[in-house]
Amino acid sequence: MNTTIMLFLVQDGITNGAIYALLGLALVLVFAVTRVILIPQGEFVTYGALTYASLAAGQMPGTAKLALALGIGAFVFDLFVARKALHGRLILRSIVANIVLPAIVLALTVYFAAQKPPVAICIALSLVIVAMIGLYLYRIAFQPLAHTSVLVLLIASVGVHLALQGLGLLFFGAEGQRGPAVLSGAFTAGALRFTGQSITVYAITIAFIIGLWLFFGLTLYGKALRATAVNRLGARLAGIRTTLSGQIAFLLASVIGALSGILIVPITTLYYDSGFLIGLKGFVAAIIGGLVSYPLTAVAALVVGIVEAFSSFYASNYKEVIVFMLLIPVLLLRSLAAPAVEEEKD
């Protein structure tokens, strides 16, 4: 192999790796705060990507309706939980957050979908739609289970993944879609060609890593989220609303997922069920990062991306085998390096 091919593969790997890094970060975030292993992360990716692609193609995405439906569900859950102490302000707030907001977004989507909106509006709408889906999903599926074991949360997560993937087929059909580039144009440096799209991918990934780092290190909400992660009960006693922490985590995760989707859909064709595998590679990175460390996860994601690029060049048949088996030596090293600590379960 010559240097050009190698550089090309590395570049390809880094672009993919950056996406995995974003997803890995989201997974770490959600797990740390809510103990949910977010299998539906992949669906956030496809929903973001395909909503964006549909809008850009002038089609009405079904996800906007889903957001409204889930919002209504969340409203019902809110009412049910507060049934003993209902008062006007609470109901009003819940209506605005869960019904009025998605209704407005739905109206906007219907309005814009008819006239092939510019890229910026497509992105904004897709992000908002998927963000709402993420938020309401937490309210409906996970918040009532917040006190249960990691295993129960994990199974619930699988259930949500199945439902969302089925809905994805319903909304977007079995055919794959591609979206327009977020940033067109390109430049060459030596043998390598950098497209505007790949530069956007790098920039956004780096921005998110720094952003999350600042958010968790410096802001009060960030610290509250970390506190929730360490000790839920303790955080509640200190006056932190743990449900709010969970909502923020899911909001961030769904936005990150949708963004990743929007970033890759111009590069590769995505299908309604592509998200699962993409999300799992983010998992691999997150596991290598130990589900706690953001920088390590980012680095691991780049390694995953590069290994994937090289193995698809040399042994394309075994690409997935190699990527997932990459985990075994990592796990081995981890378990040798850190003897298991006592943990109280249940």
Binding site: A141, V160, A163, G166, L280
Partner: protein, 589 residues
């Protein structure tokens, strides 16, 4: 033996089903599928519900079983009955390989790790030439006995359900044994189990192999039912579904696996065949409904359906009292009980910049009650953890009967005859008091997992339970013997811990705040018990905050403050020691 009777009835009902006139053949196919899924789910019950190890990778083991028999019976023409042990051996030995890596992972790494290798193996199945890549292997010969070929779903039905019922019996036998108690303790963390000699990584590996062999058996049956294999049913989706089956049924119960399999298989079938009639023309509606029902079910019954199902059954009568006339041989002691039992010399434990235990030296003689006291954070519990091998000392030495034990793991320390209780009670709440206490005698029993499954362990087991019952009576909890440990008051749970420690037949008993949460009378009874133990030749080292209790009981007192020993002596001298008064009360200016 009420449960045996219910199993017999269940077996008879299952045997009669194919003879019911007018039974649609399709229902038999469904029952076959339920049996296959139940086998895998049963393994997961043991692995996940009981052992606390969540695995997404079970489908891969089903694949190992299925592919082994597929390759051997087609390419090499081996008889399916010959490939059965080979299928089990292949799944079992690959489980050893994967398990060695996986079971050491803690917490959430473990499920994710299994997900990763589950996926990797799925892709491997679909890429390997000799496994037929994506097309798989077809024309697998059917199972046959003589000239009778099990070609129809109705004929292999018996093979499948015999496998299910036999596996369930073996699994239940395993859980109700010495090894089973060790497995059931795994989920509550490893410190308590290891303190009584359980080799936790080995116990975890054991359940891992058990689950894999059951999955391999299911795969072997699957291959001969379908007579063809391809990679699809062994992917991550299937792995997730098996776990789902176990959780729906009730992950803590062997029969929960069977119930879960029945519910999920039937539900999927109903959804697939009836939903299109209600909502025509829309692709994967059954997946959507399935997913939603799953979440709803978890919110309504997070413990699965088996416990709910059982609540309609008549109350199970609790087991009788073990025959306490059976005697367990006492442990062989390293040396006669005289002189210095335990010597701690300049023991130091540093956590980063903090010296939790700072060059502490003291000893415990034979037939002596020594109390370790000091204000909160003085390093008492850390000292305990150093002695019992939970932590290893940064420097200094600890010796038992003259032998250094600084680096010995907890399992070795307990073998020397040092047993302990914990400051934060570490019992298995869903095991009875008797079973919890019998954990203490773990090292004094010998039956392994195979013997337990085949019920060859009964003589050994009866002795262990007799010993446990004797210690429970000794500490005065005979009334509570068959109650669940979690239902006792905290004070009683501490006493149960003492009974468990006594089951080791120790020469030195380490008690971490045994009197906390006890009422006045109970404290007096405890003091009497400890004095009796001392007079019987045992030594006791205890950490305690109740000064009245300590001063009346201890022969000697060691006082720690901020990790450093500040005084040592008889209760009378300690009471008047200015350093001790300063540490406890501060000093008047």
């Amino acid at each position: 033996m009420q449960s045996r009777l219910s199993i017999l009835i269940f077996a008879l009902v299952m045997a009669a089903i194919p003879f019911v006139p007018g039974m649609p053949p399709f229902w038999i196919v469904l029952l076959d599928n339920i049996g296959l899924a139940a086998l895998v789910a049963m393994g997961l019950v043991l692995l996940t519900g009981v052992g606390g190890l969540t695995s997404f990778g079970q489908a891969a083991f089903v694949g190992f079983g299925a592919y082994t028999t597929a390759v051997l019976s087609t390419s090499y023409g081996l008889s399916p009955w010959l490939t059965l042990p080979l299928s089990l051996v292949v799944s079992g030995s690959l489980a050893v390989l994967l398990g060695l890596i996986t079971v050491r992972l803690s917490g959430h790494y473990l499920p994710l790790g299994t997900l990763a290798w589950g996926l990797g193996l799925f892709y491997l199945f679909s890429k390997l030439e000799f496994l037929g890549r994506n097309d798989g292997i077809s024309a697998i010969p059917p199972l046959s006995i003589g000239a009778f070929k099990m070609l129809s779903p109705g004929s292999i039905y018996y093979a499948i359900w015999v496998a299910v019922i036999v596996s369930a019996l073996l699994t239940m036998n395993l859980l109700d044994s010495r090894t089973g108690r060790a497995i059931r303790a795994l989920r509550r963390g490893h410190v308590a189990a290891e303190a009584f000699g359980v080799h936790t990584p080995r116990a975890k590996l054991l359940v891992f192999i058990h689950a894999a062999v059951l999955a391999g058996l299911s795969g072997w049956l699957y291959a001969h039912l379908q007579r063809a294999v391809n990679p699809t049913p062994f992917g991550a989706q299937a792995g997730i579904e098996y776990l789902f089956i176990a959780v729906v049924g009730g992950a803590g119960y062997v029969w929960g696996g069977v119930l879960g399999a029945a519910i999920v298989v039937v539900l999927k079938e109903v959804l697939q065949s009836y939903l299109p009639l209600i909502l025509p023309g829309s692709g994967q509606v059954e997946t959507i409904v399935f997913g939603i029902m799953l979440v709803a079910l978890l919110q309504l019954a997070p413990g699965g359906l088996w416990p709910w199902f059982m609540s309609f059954m008549p109350e199970r009568t609790s087991g009788g009292k073990p025959d306490t006339s059976l005697k367990l041989e006492s442990r062989t002691r390293a040396a006669g009980p005289s002189g210095i039992l335990l010597q701690v010399e300049k023991a130091r434990k540093q956590f980063g910049g903090v010296a939790a235990v700072n060059n502490v030296s003291f000893d415990v003689q034979a037939r002596e009650i020594v109390a370790l006291i000091g204000p909160n954070g003085a390093g008492k519990s850390t000292t305990f953890n150093l002695i019992t091998g939970v932590l290893s000392a940064t420097s200094g030495s600890i010796s038992v009967l003259g032998n250094k034990v600084d680096k010995a793991p907890p399992q070795e320390i307990v073998k020397l005859g040092i047993s302990r209780t914990f400051q934060h009670v570490k019992l298995v709440p869903d095991m009875t008091v008797l079973e919890n206490v019998a954990m203490g005698a773990h090292l004094r029993g010998h039956s392994g997992p195979i013997a337990s499954m085949l019920r060859l362990d009964r003589a050994d087991e009866a002795k262990l339970l007799a010993e446990a019952a004797r210690q429970i009576e000794r500490v005065g909890l005979a009334e509570q013997m068959h109650q669940l440990a979690g239902s006792l008051s905290l004070g009683q749970q501490r006493i149960v811990e003492i009974a468990r420690a006594l089951c080791v037949d120790p020469m030195l008993l380490l008690l971490d705040e045994p009197a906390a949460g006890l009422r006045h009378m109970e404290k007096q009874r405890l003091a009497t018990l400890l004095r009796d133990l001392r007079d019987g030749g045992m030594s006791v080292l205890l950490v305690e905050h109740d000064m009245g209790f300590v001063m009346n009981l201890a022969d000697r007192i060691v006082v720690l403050d901020f990790g450093t020993k500040i005084a040592e002596g008889t209760p009378a001298t300690i009471k008047s020691d200015p350093e001790v008064i300063k540490a406890y009360l501060g000093v008047a200016a």
